[in-house]
Amino acid sequence: MSPAPDALQRRHRFQWWELLPWATGLAMFFAFPNYLSFGTQLLVTILFALSLDLVLGYAGIVTLGHAAFFCVGAYTVGILAQQLGWNEPLSGLVAAGLAAGIVGLISGFVLLRTHGLTLLMVTLCTMTLLEQAANMGHAWTGGFDGMPGLSFTMILGLFPFDVLYFKSQYLYSLSVLALGFVVVRTLVYSSFGQSLTGIRENLLRMHAVGAPVRGRLIVAYGISAALAGVAGGLFTQVTGYVNLAVLGLERAAGVMIILILGGHGRLYGAFVGAVAYLVLEHLLAKAYPTAWQLGLGLTLVAVALFARGGLIGLFEKLRGAR
C-alpha cells in the first residue's frame, strides 16, 4: 500500500499513548485523594471543552454561546431532582443530553444561517436571553441563589455520592468523560467527521461536491449541544448545586480559552488545555489569592504569541523540528 492511504487509515487506530490520559486520571485518584473535588470539576470542564471542540475545532463553527447548552443540561438535572424528585443520576444525564440536544438542533436550525462575527454575536445574545429567562423563572431555577441541597441516589444503585471527599463523583465523571470521548473520537474519524473538516477547510468545494453542508452542520451542532448538556448535568450532580453562574460570558469564554490553549481540532486539546489552565489557575489562586490572574494572563499571552496551535500544536512543532 502506498504511504498516504496507509497513514490515513492508521490514524483511526488507537495508539498506545492514547491510554496515557486515562491512566493519569486513575493515578490522580490514588495520588491526590484530598483534591478530588477539584479533580471532578476538571473532568467536567474537559467534557465541556470536548463538546466545543466538535463544533469549533472540527466543524469550524465559531460560537460564544456554548454555555447555553451546558446550562440547559445543568438545569434539566436540577429541576428534575428538585421539582419532580427524579434524582437517579444516569437517567438524569440522559435527560440532560436530550434536552440540550433538542435545544441545539432547534437553535442550530435558526442560528447556522449566519457565520463568522454575526454568528458569534447571535450565539452570545441567545445565551443572554436564556440567562434572563432563568432569572425570571426563579421559582423554578432559584435564580442567582440557586437550588440548595440537591442530592442524588446511588450511581448504578451501588455507589453513594461522597459529599466530603468526592471519591465516587470523580470516578463517575471519569467514566462519563471516557464514554463521551469515545463518541467524539468515533464521530470525527467517521465519514461524517471528515465532511465536517471538509466544510471547515473549504466550504465552496464541499458545496460543489454536493455535500449537504447545512444539514451536516446542524446535526454536528445538535450532537455537540447534547454533549455539553451532559457536561452541565454532570456538573449539577457532582456539585449538588446549580445557580445562574452556569451561564454567562465567563464560562463561555473560559471554555474557548481552554480549547485554544490546548489546541482546537485535536481531540486531546481539550484535555491538555483544561488541565493546564485549571491547574495553573488553581495553584496560582492558592498561592496568591489576590493577584493570580496576572500570572494566568501572562501565560495566555505567551501561548497566543508563541504557540498558535495551542500546547499540542507546540508539541507537534517541536517533534516535527527534530
Binding site: 473535588s37 470539576q41 442567582f144 441563589d145 456539585t239 453562574a245 489576590t290
Partner: protein, 401 residues
C-alpha cells in the same frame, strides 16, 4: 527492671502525647473563603482588612491559643468554586472552622459540607435570609436582607410619616428580599406600596431613567430603592437628581447599600438628604467605632473608609476569638456552636448578639440622613431600632419557614 522500663516507656509516650495534644490545642486553623479576585475583590478587601484590624486592636483576644488563617479565593459567585475551596480546606488543610462568604450562593452551596464534615462556619456577609436554616453548623455575624428592609419600612411610616411608597429593586434575590421585607413592614404599619419596579440585574449598571420616571409618575411619598452597593448606588443618586424627584417631594430611601461609606464622598452634594436604614456606617458615634475607623485610616490611608462589610469581618473575628477561648483551643463542633449561640459583643456597630434559636445576628438598625458638615458628607443618625432580629425567620415568610 522490666517494669521500670515499661514505666519509662509509658512516661515517654505520655509526655509525647501531652506535647502533641498541646500543640494541637494551641494552633486553631481557620479557613477564610472570600472572592479575592474579580468583581468581588473590593468586598473581600473590606472584610479582610476588618479581620486584620480586629487582630491589631485585640492582640490578646485569642488568649494563649495560636490561630492560623488559611485564605482561599472563591472567585465567581457560582457556588462551585467556593465549594471546592471549602472541600480542600477541610480535607487537605484540616481546618477547624470556616469563615468569609461574601456571596449567598457560596454559602448556600457549601452548607452541605459544613453539616457533613461538622465544621462550624461563621458567615461574614452572605445575606439571603434562609442560609442559617441550611446547616446547624452556620452562625451569621452579618445581616439578612430583611434587617434593613424591614426597619426601613417601619421607619418610613413612623419617622418619615409616609403613606404611599414605590419600590425599585435590582432583579435578583437580595433585591426581591428587600422588596418583600419593606412591603411587609410598610403595610403592617398602615402604609401602601403602590408599585414595585424591577430594574435590571446586578451585573451591569443599567440606565435608571425609565424606571425612575415610572416611579415619579406614581407620585409616592417615598421611593425605596435596593441596588447592589457600589457603582449602582452612584448612578441611582445621579438619576434621582436629574429627574428632579426631590423637588417633586419624593423622598429617596433604602438600605445602607445606597451609601457605601468608601464611595460616599465621591457622590457629591447630590446625596444630601438621602435616608437609609442599616446596621453600620462609619460615622456612628461610639468609642469603639472611633477607634476602629481611626486605626483603619492610619493603616490604609486617610481616604480609606471601612463600610458595613469591614465591620462584619471585624465582628466575625471577634466571634471566632470568643469560640476559640471558650473551647480552650479544642474546637469540638457542637461545643463551638454552643459557644457561638447567645454570644454577646460590643461592636463598632453597637451591641450585638447571636440569636440562640436561629444562630443569626440580633443588632441595631440605624436610620441616618446624609448631611453636609464641614465640607464633607456625613451620615447623621436620626433614629435607631434596637435589637432587630431577622424578620424573615420571625414571621416565617416564604423559604424562611
Amino acid at each position: 527492671m522490666r517494669i521500670s522500663r515499661i514505666l519509662k516507656l509509658g512516661v515517654v509516650a505520655a509526655s509525647f502525647a501531652a506535647v502533641a495534644a498541646t500543640a494541637q490545642a494551641q494552633t486553631v486553623k481557620i479557613g477564610v473563603v472570600l472572592p479575592y479576585s474579580g468583581v468581588g475583590a473590593e468586598f473581600a478587601q473590606q472584610v479582610d482588612r476588618g479581620m486584620q484590624v480586629f487582630m491589631k486592636l485585640n492582640p490578646g483576644a485569642f488568649g494563649p491559643y495560636k490561630v492560623e488563617l488559611i485564605k482561599r479565593d472563591s472567585k465567581n459567585p457560582s457556588g462551585a468554586e467556593a465549594k471546592t475551596a471549602v472541600q480542600e480546606l477541610i480535607a487537605q488543610d484540616k481546618v477547624d472552622m470556616l469563615t468569609g462568604f461574601i456571596y449567598s450562593p457560596d454559602a448556600i452551596a457549601s452548607a452541605s459540607l459544613f453539616t457533613e464534615a461538622k465544621k462550624p462556619a461563621v458567615i461574614m456577609n452572605a445575606g439571603t435570609a434562609w442560609i442559617t436554616n441550611l446547616s446547624p453548623m452556620i452562625a451569621r455575624v452579618s445581616f439578612s436582607m430583611w434587617h434593613a428592609g424591614h426597619a426601613m419600612g417601619e421607619a418610613s411610616v413612623k419617622t418619615l410619616k409616609a403613606k404611599t411608597a414605590v419600590v425599585g429593586y435590582s432583579d435578583f434575590p437580595p433585591g426581591r428580599d428587600s422588596l418583600d421585607a419593606f412591603k411587609r413592614a410598610f403595610e403592617a404599619n398602615g402604609g401602601k406600596v403602590i408599585d414595585a419596579i424591577p430594574m435590571g440585574g446586578p451585573g451591569q449598571v443599567p440606565d435608571f431613567t425609565p424606571f425612575f420616571q415610572r416611579a415619579k409618575d406614581r407620585k409616592p411619598d417615598v421611593f425605596f430603592v435596593f441596588v447592589p452597593s457600589g457603582d449602582h448606588a452612584v448612578a441611582v443618586m445621579k438619576t434621582y437628581n436629574a429627574l428632579g424627584m426631590r423637588q417633586g417631594g419624593i423622598k429617596l430611601v433604602g438600605p445602607g447599600d445606597l451609601t457605601p461609606d468608601y464611595k460616599l464622598q465621591g457622590m457629591g452634594d447630590e446625596a444630601v438628604g438621602l435616608i437609609t436604614a442599616h446596621h453600620y456606617n462609619a460615622d456612628l458615634d461610639n468609642a469603639h467605632n472611633k477607634r476602629f475607623v481611626e486605626t483603619w485610616k492610619k493603616d490604609y490611608g486617610a481616604n480609606a473608609t471601612p463600610d458595613f462589610m469591614a465591620v462584619q469581618g471585624y465582628d466575625g473575628m471577634a466571634a471566632i476569638a470568643h469560640a476559640v477561648v471558650a473551647m480552650k483551643g479544642r474546637m469540638d463542633p457542637e461545643g463551638t456552636m454552643n459557644a457561638l449561640r447567645g454570644w454577646k459583643f460590643d461592636s463598632p456597630r453597637g451591641p450585638l448578639s447571636i440569636d440562640p434559636a436561629t444562630r443569626d445576628i440580633v443588632m441595631n438598625e440605624y436610620l441616618s440622613e446624609v448631611v453636609k458638615q464641614g465640607g464633607r458628607l456625613v451620615q447623621k443618625n436620626i433614629g435607631v431600632i434596637t435589637a432587630v432580629k431577622d424578620m424573615c425567620k420571625e414571621l416565617k415568610e416564604g423559604k424562611c419557614k
